[in-house]
């Protein structure tokens, strides 16, 4: 799965999640703050150096680093094409470059941080807002989103295979709809079972959520 924690003992692995998240936020602000092309290029070069150095320090192989960006390339490509059509090829290229750097940096944070540590940090950060939101519930939403991406990907793959085995096409808008509808239904059924499972494993026992039906 993309961006999932990769065990290691590097400086980045042992750094506090809060520090890494704060660093990521600062990099995002720095990347999108400059207005002039020269400023953008300068900041992007700095961010590129930080990214390469970060992956090097964390000893994460280049193929894994590239794999973090690959799924977003189609949407970044669309952004670039849009700008080229509008006659702003340079601006488009700079926007895409900054997005690539930001995604790579965000992936570096998730690759070097355990989800449980990340969640603990987010929960602690949300504590002042406890009156308005339930930090435990928000943390659980994040955990489940990360955990069930590969499960749903497997479900999609199994559905594609089942449809292909019965003569269905794997590409085209018809294939997309044929895949999307059963996948959504399976996802809804899965969510019921998972809600039961986390309830059975004691989620909310210490009052982090109120009842299962809201999970």
């Amino acid at each position: 799965m993309l961006g999932i924690y990769r065990h290691g003992t590097s400086l980045l692995h042992s750094a506090r999640p809060g520090v890494k998240l704060a660093g990521l936020a600062l990099m995002a602000i720095a990347l999108f703050m400059p207005a002039s092309p020269a400023g953008i290029v300068a900041v992007s070069l700095g961010a590129a150096f930080t990214t390469v150095a970060g992956y090097g320090i964390a000893r994460i192989p280049a193929r894994l680093a590239i794999a973090q960006i690959r799924p977003t390339l189609w949407i970044l490509g669309m952004i670039l094409i849009f700008h080229v059509i509008m006659g702003d090829a340079l601006i488009g290229a700079l926007i895409v470059a900054r997005f690539i750097l930001l995604i790579a940096l965000a992936a570096l944070v998730t690759l070097t941080t355990r989800v449980s540590d990340m969640i603990a940090t987010i929960e602690a950060g949300l504590k002042p807002l406890r009156r308005f939101v339930d930090p435990g519930r928000i943390a659980m939403c994040i955990v489940l989103t990360i955990r069930f991406v590969p499960v749903l990907a497997n479900e999609a793959h199994a559905l594609q295979e089942a449809q292909a085995a019965r003569g269905g096409k794997r590409a085209g808008p018809g294939a997309f709809i044929r895949l999307a509808v059963p996948l959504i239904l399976r996802g809804l059924r899965l969510s019921e079972t998972v809600a039961e499972a986390i309830h059975a494993r004691g989620f909310g026992r210490n009052g982090s959520h109120r009842d299962r039906d809201q999970t």
């Binding site: 449980s116 955990r147 998972v194 499972a197 059975a200 004691g202």
Partner: protein, 225 residues
């Protein structure tokens, strides 16, 4: 000990379980029956995942309706598909999920996770993504996550349905050695060897409540009828 007093369960207009009362106090209890006979619903009633439409279930004196959280601390539940039960993406984090919910933190949490991983032979996998484990390893992880909490009763809903023969035998051996009371819903009749009592469900009723050999004979005659 689990006391089931005059329970019935309906979902909308459909009766899933007709009235039944019984006490489960044996160490190893099997539940068998056709698909849709009410086995899984019955199992879910035992730790309060489902509350009965009528009647009550008490586990070691705790009512599932009045003290659901306490009952779930007493009764661990293992689902058929471990993928639905594994919550965290990394093996050791998932084992720690239930323990954190039980209030463990710091060294106590770390020691309990390490013990559970060792017990189920998952120490080498502790830092691996859970979705990359084999089916058998995933079910072991699901079991480790439940048994790390040291529940007094373990309810398992067809835990070997997705496993190969080797992993079925592995899970069977683990269940045999457990000190806890075990309630096992299964279609794998071999797993009931050495069990104390087997209940046969049919259309929401217990139609046999006997030793494994007699109950299995009854179940087979039902299936062949």
């Amino acid at each position: 000990m689990i006391e089931i007093e005059a329970i019935r369960h309906r979902v909308e207009a459909i009766t899933i379980l007709h009235e039944l009362s019984l006490t489960l106090c044996e160490g190893r209890i099997g539940i068998i029956g056709a698909n849709g006979s009410g086995k899984s619903t019955f199992a879910r009633l035992l730790n309060g995942l489902i509350l009965p439409s009528a009647g009550r279930v008490r586990v070691h004196g705790q009512d599932t309706r009045a003290a659901g959280d306490s009952v779930r601390a007493l009764v661990g539940f293992v689902f058929q598909n471990p993928d639905h039960q594994i919550v965290y993406p990394i093996v050791e984090e998932d084992v720690g999920f239930g323990l954190r919910n039980a209030g463990l933190r710091g060294d106590a949490l770390s020691c309990a996770v390490t013990d559970a991983l060792e017990r189920f032979g998952l120490t080498e996998k502790r830092n691996q993504p859970a979705h990359l484990l084999s089916g058998g390893e995933k079910q072991l992880l699901a079991l480790a996550g439940i048994l790390a909490l040291d529940p007094r009763v373990v309810v398992l809903d067809e835990p070997t349905a997705l496993l190969d023969l080797r992993n079925r035998r592995k899970i069977s051996r683990i269940l045999t050695d457990l000190p806890q009371q075990v309630v096992l819903v299964t279609h794998d009749l071999d797993m009931l060897d050495g069990f104390d009592r087997v209940l046969v469900f049919d259309s929401g009723r217990i139609v046999a409540d006997d030793t494994p050999s007699r109950a299995i004979a009854h179940y087979i005659s039902l299936m062949e009828a």
